[in-house]
């Protein structure tokens, strides 16, 4: 397992480098200019001076400067839009917030999702199944800008149980955490339910019951472990997206996380920041997929990562 992990880790730099180049091409050919801001045209002399100063005049100037800064100093360079801040500053201040909020949301999603999905599968066709369907429908079909706004308006505005947005205390984390957890929760509930139904009708479950094990023992100990595998494979990409923040939820709750930068940096043509955020996202995606693959073999001893074909 360790050898597999090491081999996968060794591939990371190559994948990231290719991704950097691909992103750079898109960023460079996109019309617009990071130094042309607002509704007014800037003096060509001023524009030229800025381009020169930020190594953004020609594509090769950009490529012969910034990637080496990253390799040598781990420095993504200055943000071209927020020039008081380097991309590293921005990532350093925004990423922890998004990760915290994302982990919180993921925990809620996982616990509630598995609970709802399992109960629904066990009482198939019953009241709790209908309830789970409702949860799934809301979670999947309600766009987050609606659910976030409703949560904020009701629990923040009307009932005043929670503060209206901002970041810094646990109470400020509850509503955005809930809003962020809805979609993954729905997927997890759905995945758990489907695979649970499958597992429940398998032979070994009948055997276990026949041998006298209690129902809940069978479900929670024996079935869930098998039923959980599809959820686990979903968890990798879900963790990567949730932990790197959500544009909508961050905007509605005024959370200074990373999600906003994915969208805003593109609108601002903030090339260095776009590349920085893409690199972070890629690193998260690669890491979590690796973690998920490794945990397969931990949960399900039948999975052998070193077997041929994996």
């Amino acid at each position: 397992m360790l050898r597999v992990a090491a081999w996968r880790l060794a591939q990371f730099p190559l994948i990231m480098a290719v991704l950097y180049l691909i992103t750079f091409v898109f960023v460079w050919v996109a019309p617009g200019d990071p130094f042309q801001r607002g509704e007014k045209q800037i003096d060509p002399i001023a524009l030229e001076a800025l381009r020169e100063r930020f190594h953004a005049d020609r594509w090769y100037e950009f490529l012969t400067y910034y990637p080496w800064q990253i390799l040598r100093h781990g420095d993504f360079g200055p943000s071209l839009q927020y020039r008081e801040w380097s991309v590293n500053d921005i990532l350093k201040s925004a990423l922890p917030i998004s990760v915290t909020l994302g982990l919180f949301a993921l925990t809620i999603a996982l616990v509630l999702g598995v609970l709802v999905g399992t109960t629904a599968a066990v009482h198939r066709g019953g009241l709790s199944d209908t309830f789970s369907l409702a949860v799934v429908l809301i979670g999947i079909s309600l766009p987050s800008f609606i659910s976030a706004a409703i949560l904020l308006a009701v629990f923040g505005g009307k009932l005043k149980w929670f503060p209206i947005g901002g970041w810094g205390s646990f109470s400020q984390m509850v509503l955005p955490g809930l809003a962020l957890s809805l979609a993954p929760m729905a997927y997890i509930a759905r995945l758990t339910r489907v695979s649970m139904i499958d597992v429940l009708s398998s032979d070994y479950v009948r055997t276990a019951r026949a041998k006298g094990l209690s129902r809940s023992m069978v479900i929670w100990k024996h079935c869930l472990r098998n039923a959980f595998l599809p959820v686990l494979s979903y968890l990798g990409p879900a963790a990567a997206t949730t932990l790197t923040g959500s544009f909508v939820v961050e905007k509605v709750f005024s959370i200074p996380g990373l999600g906003q930068h994915f969208v805003n940096s593109i609108q601002n043509r903030d090339r260095t920041l776009i590349l920085g955020t893409v690199m972070v996202f890629a690193l998260f995606l690669l890491t979590f997929n690796l973690l998920v693959d490794l945990s397969y073999s931990l949960i399900d001893p039948r999975v052998d990562l070193q077997a041929k074909g994996t």
Binding site: A46, L110, L232, S295
Partner: protein, 552 residues
């Protein structure tokens, strides 16, 4: 079950770690809180151009002159006054001996020379305003062309630590207003020294904008920036060394960052903030209809208009029908702007036939005449004269509007509908992203697009200069010799009133030649309760934080 527990357990462990990592940083007690027009882009006066940035600059720095918080006319600031030569081209400013930086250093004429020289060495959006000063434009051009430059050739000179002499090319009647404007603020050279960057190749000196971040930043205005949490908040405290500290009404303030329009309103309603410096145009009509007494709606400093590309040919060489003035006038006369402000924008805007909002320079003595108004009958005549008696399509003419903004789509559809109804013209609508549109306008690679212009300083030339044939902002590609001549005469004219007459005449040409079709004059909105004093709404959205306080 045991092994499965690993996952939630791991999550909880990671969550605890993350909580510690992301840090709290709860907000502290301040005298008042507000939400600015948007988040800060930069606090470096050298590079700033956004209203929200300039607003903060006036809290942190003070120019030779500053604005009166009720009339918004220039009044002495760091300078106690100035002598103006008879030909109005030499200004000698006398700096207050008691003026201090936030670290206690005296504010000297050298600090202004330093900041203004940097404006030429590191040109920014507003460097062009320095071109009124003798030799400044040549200095910048020479530097850009890598020719040797000497600052001695520029008309800015510190005669002694408390006397600054500025020599202008022409009598600039509004120069004192510029002296209060952000591109002319002083900077503290010593505290910026660690942020100096020297280009190894060219030896060119620039300063990293990081110098504006606390605790490094040194200011000479009523407030000092104490804390700047990126995308969260800015906390400012009264500057104990400010020369007029006795008149600074609040001890501290906080700018809260919140981008979502509904959350902004909820924060205001809950009392979490005392002032919203912008109210989304999505909610203004509703608040206006309800008669919300905290909403203050007032005349803005700009106009929304359609810009027409009037060059004889398009970029690809095909002929452009909009080169015909009659056709442009017909398009303008076919639009009922009243209907647009009543049904589409609905924020109390005034329908426009002029480029310059007529009220904003009234106090200076500005008297403009209406331009081309709604006149469907005459519109049809002109269209027929231009060769389109039955309407139809105008070759190559498409209307470009901004994507993602309902208002811009509604406006486009309304114009297209009216042209169809009145003139039987079919103008196709195309949407594009803002950056794309900006590039199209710059390259003159369009025919018709919605645009907006807001002025910067208290003089009509901040509008009229846009349509000089040499202006980089002349998106219409419009060239009119008489217009250029009038503006040139105005620059040489020392008498303020005579000069205004020249500019009024120029605007009249612009309004009737129709390189643009004015649609409406913009409005701005603030929200604050009666207990917040000192925020006097004004078109330029200037805020003198010195006077702002919450009365308990």
């Amino acid at each position: 079950m045991g092994r499965l527990l690993v996952i939630p357990l791991a999550l909880i462990v990671m969550l605890t770690g993350a909580l510690a990592w992301s840090g709290g940083g709860a907000s502290q007690r301040v005298d008042f809180r507000f939400i600015n027009r948007g988040d800060i882009i930069t606090l470096d006066p050298n590079q700033m151009s956004y209203v929200q940035d300039i607003r903060m600059a006036y809290a942190m720095w003070e120019g030779l002159y500053t604005y009166d918080s009720r009339t918004y006319m220039p009044v002495p600031g760091t300078a106690s006054g100035c002598d103006i030569s008879a030909d109005k081209r030499v200004y000698t400013f006398h700096l207050r001996h008691e003026a201090r930086w936030s670290n206690g250093d005296p504010v000297t004429a050298g600090d202004f020379v330093f900041a203004w020289k940097r404006m030429l060495d590191e040109p920014g959006d507003y460097t062009y305003l320095h071109y009124y000063i003798k030799g400044a434009e040549k200095y910048v051009e020479d530097a850009a062309a890598h020719r040797p430059v000497e600052f001695k050739t520029v008309g800015v000179e510190a005669l002694d630590p408390h006397t600054l002499r500025v020599t202008l090319n022409d009598p600039v009647t509004f120069f004192l207003d510029l002296m209060a404007f952000s591109p002319f603020l002083p900077l503290h050279a010593k505290s910026m020294e660690p942020f100096k960057e020297v280009d190894a190749r060219t030896g060119k000196v620039t300063y990293s904008q990081h110098f504006t971040r606390p605790p490094h930043v040194v200011c000479n205005g009523p407030f000092v920036l104490k804390k700047w949490d990126f995308k969260r908040r800015l906390v400012l405290e009264k500057n104990a060394h400010y020369w007029d500290m006795a008149h600074v009404k609040s001890d501290s303030m906080e700018m809260v960052v919140c981008d979502d329009r509904l959350s902004q309103l909820m924060m205001f309603d809950s009392g979490a903030v005392d002032w919203l410096a912008e109210v989304s145009s999505d909610v203004v009509p509703e608040l206006l209809a309800k008669g919300n007494k905290d909403l203050k709606s007032f005349v803005g400093f700009g106009t929304c208009f359609l810009t027409l590309m009037v060059k004889p040919t398009y970029l690809d060489g095909t002929p452009n029908p909009l080169v015909d003035r009659r056709l442009r006038q017909a398009l303008a006369m076919a639009l009922d702007r009243n209907q647009i402000v009543r049904n589409i924008t609905r924020c109390g805007e005034a329908p426009a036939t002029r480029f310059i909002p007529p009220e904003i320079f009234q106090s200076l003595g500005w008297r403009s005449t209406p331009g081309i108004d709604f006149d469907p009958h005459r519109a049809k005549q002109l269209l027929a004269e231009a060769g389109y008696p039955n309407g139809g399509r105008l070759p190559g003419v498409k209307y470009v509007f901004r994507s993602g903004i309902p208002l811009s789509r509604d406006l486009a559809e309304s114009c297209a509908r009216q042209w169809k109804q009145v003139l039987n013209l079919d103008i196709p609508l195309v949407q594009a992203e803002q950056q794309m549109i900006k590039q199209m306008l710059n390259k003159k690679d369009y025919a018709l697009a919605a645009s907006q212009w807001s002025g910067d300083y208290n003089d009509p030339s901040t509008f009229t200069d846009k349509y000089l044939s040499t202006s980089i902002n002349n998106d219409a590609g419009w060239v009119n010799a008489e217009y250029d001549q009038l503006l040139k005469e105005a620059t040489k004219e020392p008498d303020a009133q005579t000069r205004l007459r020249l500019l009024e005449k120029a605007e009249r040409i612009l309004n009737t030649e129709v390189p643009i079709i004015p649609i409406y004059h913009i409005t701005s909105q603030y929200m604050y309760r009666d207990n917040l004093k000192g925020i006097t709404p004004n078109p330029r959205l200037v805020t003198m934080f010195k006077d702002v306080e919450v009365v308990k």
